[in-house]
Assembly symmetry: C2
Homo-oligomer: 569 residues x 2
């Protein structure tokens, strides 16, 4: 489509209704999404269907993805899919002393375009990405190791939802202050004082997105789109194992920006050579004024400490707990938990790790169950869910990297194994590393976790398909351990199963005071590790697992500032 | 008034209309204020009149201000008015290991009260403060050195406006997310997924307000009320020379909180012994999760670097410039500038310091004026404005502390003195140090300020009644120097006088890019150093002078977090 066909008024006419719906959704937080979840919903009106998406992905393999970026001094790549295939895609490697200045060149026009035009340009970028959802699904699958269906949904529509949500928040925040105001102050019998004021949202500078391995689009889009929609240029530094999904995103953004008459260099990719570690270099460049990061606590803390010239938004590690105290739907609880532990081999920042279970057992609608029974029944539920290899593979995906595999293998040495991890073969991808989760029994007596220097295994994150069935002395102790875990290590999610008003109140109060998101008594088709854009907050920004939440006013409000020019009327 | 008479519904009925007007004002940014500026507007409906306010202040002198705080282990004080009188008021000195825990005790009830009740309780506190405006005026005057009328207006209604503005932003931010939501996601032919969600704004913890000497209420209230309205307890650490205005504020807050059924310890005072420096101790306490600070760049930077457990909002030093390039109202310009330089002896963070004037002179409606003529005419305008000692005193107030006096005295050695500072006697307060501003001519040739290690006097803040008439080579150079000054040192305000569209555009673009608030061609009764709540932003939060602006969404959005509890419907 030619540039002339993508004027701002056309984009506004096309996308404003969607923006308005998104603005309404974040206000009501009812269910809403403009991005279909079903693979068969694609293939018409310009979007790639299943076969076309696969073909588009296959055509990328072994290719050079030339984004037309200035300062490209080399071509780099080397992604190997967790499913075993080498992607062979190469990407531009940038001389950042050339690229960063080039990214600023188009900044004034982007700033002057204003919040509405920026929002609809972002929505057009999302439209292009949505049209390529099938292609992105393969790219996400073969970088994150997610199973196809999850890569399709979480990497496609759900990620696009989170992006749109960020655009909506960014737009709303910028238009809270009017463009113009007339200010007239009465002066008794004298003439009033009268001023004309103009307010302009201005960007902070260049934003840096540091992507992660497991959810390159879902975790990357909110920061990328929030920064772009608030007028900043965005430099995308993907995880070296998950470049392709974000490179395709940059490609789509650059296309749309150019077609709409803006400088494509407002969005650029920073791919790196193996071991180059350019995130550390980029993060402290004076041009970088915003950083979004998902990854390890160590590097997140490093960024917060060292990138002082930037606003730093981090999602780091946490330790997620589920308190299992009582239930009136024992089977539903077990099924729900089994799914939560299995989905994407527990490689979600939201997957429960610690199951806090009173050692005297729990109450259920079928009478009391001992701690051992609960753990055994949960192991059985996981085993049943994953009993069929094909179904198991579609749920588990592949182990994303050797570190996770090593951690899984070490976990069985931590205590009594209630459910051993099982190796599963994937007929389509024989080199994929597919493993079922391990459940390890641990003693949660207070003496093991009280005290600042606790070395109890369940007080640290063990990222991957590893869960601990922690025998605690009482429900009250479970709540205390929950509080301590959130306070010390953070948590992206908390779950609880209880039929007791008293315990429910205690868990709620713990979550309110320690600032963690709580799912209560989930026994159906919603899982503690899933959040929906426009309705659920992902993280709270108030405990050590993350300093921001997806998405709220705080996530966008400091990505721009408002400059006022006033003069006498 | 008894506690029972201050229920939440009654406070809502009383104050909700004011809150709604404030919410509308921050949206339109038209003129609005519920707090009368004229001293004669007080004295009825429960507010103290002029004589009563003075009597109330006099009664405070030499007294012990017992706030009924827990952990009080001593009584401290020692304020000496810049007008020469010893206040002799003593304040509770706290054992912080007792006080901080006590401040948390009432936190849950305050959180559970919700945004609206918190807002109207804050408005009731402001009502009590407003009723005592005459008393506060004397307290501000005799700590800051402001002249009475300024202390009355800036320390009274204008500060109360800024507080109300912060409450309005805080309320709006918290109610962006609904209390409850029903979420129903269609599942094709299967039953929909349905969740009930509850969203609760939760505070970060205890907020610390570190007050300043010159504007204890105006600069202190936004942070104090933003934190309190978002559910946090607030510990007020005043500047040792300006304790009384904030101590009276704490007193009013504690009274209202108790009457409304909340724990008065949600707001407490931390007065200190001479040289104790408790701000540094308090700032890194783990209980302190928010810090608001106005003061030196050195300590602001220290807070940002060291108080990593807290959200830190700082207003630091800056170098404010006015470009004088051309005007069609030469007299109006001179009068406006003369007032700006004189008001409160230039002891405002918004007072212009550098007057950037082309060395070849400027164009006016009366023809060209040389650089020397402009500077001489400005000196004459200041001299005329301050020619009458009584009028001068009412405008200048007193020099706030010996540091400012020393800086003023040193300034005349920096270059050719265009206007010498003059000593003025105050018949009512013979010990007051009252001085007119000095204007010093300096050479602004590019070679003197280009380069990172410039030692040109005008590249640093010289806080007090000191202005530099900087001869620049051209208007373009003036804009370049402006950019560099903002970028290196920050600026709370920028002014410009120009009739040239081109120069106006260049100055505007510099302010948009460097993120500074611009006043253009002010020749009447509005001055570059004054901002009005609900309409003007104070600072931008985007240059080194301050990391936040008064007031916007970013100022409030991260003082609380939202915790979601979801369960199956």
């Amino acid at each position: 489509m030619a540039a002339a066909e993508r004027t701002a008024p056309q984009l506004i006419a096309q996308h404003r209704p969607t923006l308005d719906q998104a603005l309404e959704a974040i206000r009501t937080r009812a269910y809403w999404s403009p991005h279909p979840e079903h693979p068969k919903a694609y293939g018409e009106n310009g979007s790639l269907g299943m076969a076309e998406g696969k073909a588009a992905f296959d055509a990328l393999l072994g290719s050079r993805l030339d984004l037309g970026q200035p300062g490209t001094d080399d071509w780099v790549g080397g992604e190997v899919s967790p499913y075993g295939i080498e992607l062979g895609v190469t990407y531009p490697h940038a001389d950042i002393d050339v690229l960063l200045p080039a990214m600023r060149a188009g900044g004034r026009a982007w700033r002057d375009a204003g919040p509405e035009t920026r929002a609809v340009v972002c929505l057009e970028i999302l439209k292009r990405i949505s049209d390529r959802t099938h292609e992105f699904a393969h790219a996400v699958m073969h970088t994150s190791g997610q199973a196809f269906m999850m890569a399709f949904q979480a990497g496609g529509p759900h990620a696009q939802d989170r992006a749109l949500e960020a655009v909506a928040y960014a737009y709303a925040e910028q238009v809270r202050t009017p463009e113009n105001a007339e200010w007239t102050k009465p002066q008794g019998k004298r003439d009033p004082l009268a001023l004309t004021k103009r307010f302009t949202p201005v960007p902070r500078g260049i934003a840096l997105l540091i992507g992660c391995n497991t959810f390159p689009t879902w975790n990357g889009y909110p920061g990328l789109f929030a920064s772009l929609a608030t007028g900043n240029a965005v430099l995308v530094k993907p995880h070296p194992r998950a470049v392709l999904p974000l490179a395709l995103t940059v490609q789509a953004a650059r296309e749309v920006l150019a077609e709409a008459g803006f400088d494509p260099n407002l969005v650029a990719l920073a791919a790196e050579r193996p071991g180059e570690g350019i995130a550390k270099t980029l993060a402290v460049r004076p041009e970088i004024r915003i950083i979004d990061y998902t990854g390890s606590t160590a590097f997140g803390d490093w960024l917060e400490t060292n990138a002082r010239q930037a606003q730093v938004y981090t999602e780091k590690a946490g330790v997620n707990s589920v308190i299992v105290e009582s239930t009136d739907n024992y089977k539903g609880m077990l099924a729900n938990l089994a799914f939560s532990l299995s989905l994407y081999s527990g490689q979600m920042c939201t997957t429960p790790q610690n199951l806090l279970i009173p050692r005297d057992g729990i109450r259920t609608e079928d009478g009391p169950k001992s701690y051992d029974e609960v753990v055994a029944d949960l192991a059985k539920a996981v085993g049943g869910l994953l009993g069929d290899d094909a179904r198991a593979g579609a749920l588990l995906g592949a182990i994303v990297n050797p570190d996770v595999k090593a951690r899984l293998e070490a976990a069985s040495g931590l205590g009594e194994v209630a459910l051993a991890s099982r190796e599963i073969s994937n007929p389509e991808f024989p080199d994929a590393v597919v493993r079922t989760p391990v459940i390890v029994k641990l003693d949660g007596a207070r003496k093991y976790w009280e005290g600042a220097d606790s070395e109890a295994a369940y007080t640290s994150e063990c990222f991957g398909p590893v869960s601990f069935a922690v025998a605690v002395d009482s429900a009250a102790d479970a709540v205390d351990l929950l509080r301590r875990t959130i306070s010390d290590k953070g948590a992206m999610t908390v779950g609880a199963y209880t039929t007791s008003q008293e315990v429910e109140q205690a868990v709620q109060e713990a979550c309110l005071e320690e600032c963690a998101q709580l799912s209560l008594n989930l026994t159906g088709g919603v899982y503690v590790n899933q959040t929906a854009a426009f309705s659920d907050f992902h993280g709270s920004g108030g405990n050590p697992a993350a300093n921001s939440a997806l998405c709220d006013g705080a996530f966008v409000a400091n990505r721009f500032r408002v400059v006022e020019v006033r003069r006498e009327a």
